[in-house]
Symmetry: D2
C-alpha cells in the first residue's frame, strides 16, 4: 500500500482557505502531509470549553473529521464533495486545556471508500492520547 | 428491562438550564421523556451550516451526544459528571435545511455504563433518517 | 423512506440454502421479512459457548452480520457479492443459554451503501437486549 | 503513558492454554508482548473460509477480540472476567488465503475500561491492512 499525496502542504492549505472560509474560526492548521499521513493542529478557543473546563466532544469530533477529510483530499485531489459516511470516536482521557494535535493515517483509499484512523493528543503531551477515531468517507465517482 | 425516568420533563429542563448556561446558544429543547426514551429538538442556526448548504457533522454529533446525555440524566438523576466514552455515528442522508429532531433510546443502563441509540431526522420529515448514532457513557460510582 | 422487499421469505430461504450450503451448521432461520425489516433466529449450539457458559462474541457478531446481509438481499435481490465494510457491536447483557433472535432494520438503502441496525435478544426474553449492532454493506455497481 | 506488561509471553501462553482449552481449534499464537503492544498469529483453517474463498468476517472479528483480550490480560494480569463491551471493525481489503497476523495496541488502560486498536494483515503481506478494529473491554473491580 504505497500512498502518495497529490498536493504539497501549501497547496492543501490554499485549497482549504478557499472552500472553508470559516476555517479561521476553528483555527486549525495542516502541519504536515506525507504518504498516507497528515498532522493537524487545532487552536482551542474558550468557546470549545465545557463546564468543568474540558474540551468539548464536538470539538474533538470536528478535529477528527476534518483531519480525515484533509488527508483524503491530499491524496485524491480537489474533490470537495467527499462526505463522511461514519465516524467512530473513543474519548480516552481528559485533555489539558490548550491546543490539540491530530495525526491522521489513511488505512484504506479505495475508489469508493476511504478509511482514516485519527489519534488526537494535547499539543504539549504527544504521549497521552486524548481521543481516537476512525472515519469513513464516500468518494464520489469521477 | 423496565426503565423509569426519575425526573419530570420540566425538572430535566431546569437542570439543563443550570448546568449548560450556553444551552440557548445551541437552541435545543427536550420535548419528551419516557421510559427509556427521549425526544429532543434542535433549532439549526446559520452557523451550523456547511458550504453546500447542509448541516455540519459536528452539529449532528452534538445533538446525538446531548440526547444520550439527557436520557441518561433523566433516568439516573442529577449526575453531572457522566462522560461520553465513545460515540459511533452514521450519516445516512443529506438533511434539508431546518430544525432537527433526535429520538434517543436507552439500550443499556448499567451501574457503570449506559448505552443509547439515537435516530436523527428533520423536524419536517420523520420518515427519513438523517443520522443514526450509538453513544456509550461512563457513569461515575455513587 | 418506503422500502419494499423484492423477495418472499421462502425465496430468500431457498437462495440462502444455495449460497450458504454450510448454513445448517450455524442453524439460523429467517422468520420474517417486511418493509425494511427482518427477523432471524439462531439456534445456539454447544460450540458457540465460552468458558463461563455464555454465548461467544463471534457468534453474536456472526448473527448480526448475517441478519444485515439477509435484509439487504431481501431488498435488492440476489446480489451475492454485497460485502460488509464495517460493523459496530455493543454487548449489553450476558445472554441466557439458548437460542438468539435478531431483529434487523434497514436505516439506509442507497445505491452504493446500505446500513442496518440489529437488535439481538434471547429467544425466550424479547425485552432484554443482549447486543446491538450497526452494519454497513457496500453494494456492487449493477 | 508508560504501560508495562505484567507477564512474560510464555506465562501469557500458559494462562491462555488453561482458560481456553479450545484455543488449539482456533490455532492462534502470541508472538510477542511489549509495552502496550501485542502480536498474534492465527492459522486460518478451511472452516473459516466463505464462498468466494475469502476469510470470514467472524474469523476476523474473533482475531481482533482475542488480540484485545490478550494484550489487556498481559498488562493487568490474570483477570479472566474482563469482557468486551463494544467492538468496531472495518474490513479494508480482501485477504489472500492464508494465515493472519494481528497487531494490538492499548490506547487506554484505565481502572474500569481498556481500549485497544487492532490492525490485521496477512502473514505474508504486512503492508496491506485487511481489517482494523477498536475494542473496548470492561475491567471488573478488584
Amino acid at each position: 500500500m504505497t500512498m502518495q499525496p497529490v498536493m504539497a502542504v501549501d497547496e492543501l492549505r490554499s485549497f482549504v482557505d478557499e472552500v472553508f472560509p470559516q476555517a479561521e474560526i476553528h483555527n486549525w492548521l495542516v502541519n504536515d502531509l506525507g504518504p498516507g499521513t497528515i498532522s493537524v493542529t487545532m487552536r482551542v478557543s474558550e468557546s470549545a470549553l465545557r463546564p468543568g473546563g474540558t474540551i468539548s466532544g464536538p470539538t474533538m469530533f470536528f478535529l477528527a473529521d476534518v483531519t480525515a477529510y484533509l488527508v483524503i483530499l491530499g491524496h485524491i485531489g480537489k474533490v470537495e464533495l467527499a462526505v463522511t459516511t461514519s465516524l467512530n470516536i473513543n474519548f480516552l482521557s481528559k485533555p489539558p486545556l490548550g491546543d490539540l494535535m491530530a495525526e491522521g493515517r489513511l488505512i484504506k483509499l479505495g475508489k469508493r471508500l476511504a478509511v482514516c484512523e485519527i489519534h488526537i493528543h494535547s499539543a504539549t503531551d504527544a504521549d497521552t492520547l486524548v481521543a481516537q477515531a476512525t472515519a469513513t468517507y464516500s468518494i464520489p465517482p469521477r
